[in-house]
Assembly symmetry: C3
Homo-oligomer: 317 residues x 3
Amino acid sequence: MKKRNPQLNANGELHHLLTIEGLPRDILTHILNTAESFVTVAEREVKKVPLLRGKAIFNLFFENSTRTRTTFEIAAKRLSADVINLNIGSSSTSKGETLLDTVDNLSAMQADMFVVRHAQSGAAHLIARHVAPHIHVVNAGDGRHAHPTQGLLDMFTIRRYKEDFTRLRVAIVGDILHSRVARSEIHALNVLGVPEIRVIAPKTLLPTEVEQLGVHVYHDMAQGLKDVDVVMMLRLQNERMRGALLPSAGEFFKHYGLTADKLAHAKYDAIVMHPGPMNRGIEIDSGVADGKQSVILPQVTFGIAVRMAVMSILAGN
Amino acid sequence: MKKRNPQLNANGELHHLLTIEGLPRDILTHILNTAESFVTVAEREVKKVPLLRGKAIFNLFFENSTRTRTTFEIAAKRLSADVINLNIGSSSTSKGETLLDTVDNLSAMQADMFVVRHAQSGAAHLIARHVAPHIHVVNAGDGRHAHPTQGLLDMFTIRRYKEDFTRLRVAIVGDILHSRVARSEIHALNVLGVPEIRVIAPKTLLPTEVEQLGVHVYHDMAQGLKDVDVVMMLRLQNERMRGALLPSAGEFFKHYGLTADKLAHAKYDAIVMHPGPMNRGIEIDSGVADGKQSVILPQVTFGIAVRMAVMSILAGN
Amino acid sequence: MKKRNPQLNANGELHHLLTIEGLPRDILTHILNTAESFVTVAEREVKKVPLLRGKAIFNLFFENSTRTRTTFEIAAKRLSADVINLNIGSSSTSKGETLLDTVDNLSAMQADMFVVRHAQSGAAHLIARHVAPHIHVVNAGDGRHAHPTQGLLDMFTIRRYKEDFTRLRVAIVGDILHSRVARSEIHALNVLGVPEIRVIAPKTLLPTEVEQLGVHVYHDMAQGLKDVDVVMMLRLQNERMRGALLPSAGEFFKHYGLTADKLAHAKYDAIVMHPGPMNRGIEIDSGVADGKQSVILPQVTFGIAVRMAVMSILAGN
């Protein structure tokens, strides 16, 4: 007998969003379709809907990320929820309380949803296993593991510009090894039926046995970008460059930075994506980042709609 | 002639909540009864009521406490208030402005209520004496002096599980000396008619002349817990253990940490309380903290209802 | 042909508020008149109006200022807006993202308004030039340049107490050189037709060619305050006193601190203003600050109404 996915309830409905891995295609498609309706909400004069009115959403950010926290905060407020921001690094854990005691306490305050960011892989799963049945957990990034709402907003963006996933060639470029974003993207692309997923990176920035994720490996941009429909850049963490994994930012940019010249190998109408924040001149050239193939800012906009979709599917009135 | 309690208006109604000391029993009972109605609000699909709609509640936290601030923030939002969180340590006081100038300025922004946390005993009283007549002050903990909403939520919890205060034997265990929580609990238990209040602590963690508060002193857990209905544990501040007051955390736990063995001296249906955050293995054993006699998490839940009651009684439309 | 004011749209309506310089008198008067209606809102039981319901206001504070941020937050919440507070110092800019990338990202989250505080003069203008046409920018203080809502609330206060600008003699006292508040006040007083504006300061705290702003310069308080209707004190930045610009706080107070004796040179019904936070005993004597001619706290109250007016004129439904 198959072990039940910890994200689904007994009826096979989404109860937590922890990772895209193992989610069926119809659930991803339902989220993307729901997000479509919220894109139009954002264009209205009054951008609010009452779907989470009276619900308490706790942003539990054990790792600081103003940008991601802000997108969840806006999404929740557009759904009329009450939002509590907790920067947990500076809170009870510094008083010696354990992570699960903190979660128990917040649960006892009748939270309806925890949006969790944590430097440790698996933190959101741990919390989801622990909380009371009426509480929903959304993983907003855990260690190197997963960042599912980023993966979903990327899929939403691709579908908006390219429509049919089953005819696409997609390249993911950069630091695959340390990237939870790349993991979530690869899972989502696979589930949605993209036939050819490529990763382009130096050997030092690739996980071992990365091919088992269902991707083709390239170490050269000209070859890897050849005829792709979608180029998904990754952020290069500054701290990697101080280590032994990379020679220098200049060397990296020379070989793997996305320039107009390299992008010319892709299809003429390929779109360029980046999860932000960008390091201009390191993983991406400014001309490309701001160019006509870039959909980097639409990604941000769609991110609000996708997070509204996830939150309303999980906890909507 | 009796001096008027600074917390009451000319009609004897609650205007500020600064300390439980000196409040008449009917006011405490009114708060507890009002809180009962808010417990059911929290169980509804939409947890909001409009009692503080349009009111501005300022959380003035001169001493950091994410947990307590969060409970007040949730309570205020459930009452539909606008909540402004001010971490004053990083604000104008660092620009040389005095505490009272800061309060004057915030008052001039048409605040309706200040929830004040301060490391100095008496800070909330000082502010209450100073503000304009339409502003309400709630003490969320001042130095070693008082933490009245904690005391009230503890009383609410006791009443929920034990009903009649006038038949109870209650023990408070741990660092009485430095605890504003203990002070508020003792005052509340006395006002509500608990006939036997015990404190259990080593001599170094007891105030001089503690008996004048109306308590019986024990230095031994077996004797002190004998036949009690309620065990109220206190948090041991880590910094105490670095000083001369305590031999070591291990020694403290051995003598005063609440274990199943020691708890067996209490009545078989005694409840175990703790204001949090807990130091597991120092003042309380994990098995007891998570055991069937523990009401530690219900305390948190009731804390929201009690704070909603206090805020709506003070400033409700 | 005259260059269009970057704050006005093609119809000559206010689209951003960046500086008072160059704004026509009818726009200032419209803001002041609109603020009048919001003063009464603040006196109602329910202080909210739905003019910005569903609008997302981002407080972008690159320079910390709890007090100013709080006034904008309260004003926005009274207009029923959703408010997102971003302390940008601790956010993406620390991840190497540029200011304009940060702004682009927040714009893509469908912000309706940015309230910007920045240590660099011109930051709000830069952002206003960059954002999409539907977004409004309010300057909440940029370097030494401008603080237009402070200037406007000061004008509102003067009008409340003195009515006709065209009969007034106004003195601004203190550190004119470093003060964006002084610049905004001088522009506003000029536009509103105040016939005699004086600045009183030591030479080291005056900009070169300050007379070109349309003011009369005094170095002596007795002469400068003679027969004025309004005394506008400035905050003395503590850091100035550590430099070579000032001998000492005591010396400054002796010559330029506002005492009852010096104030006696002004008209008997002159009002005393200060933008806060005050350094009592440095630029102003406590007796004067708290005295019957002081309108320092009404300034704060009117500041909420003026900010509500600005935000609703810019982005109201």
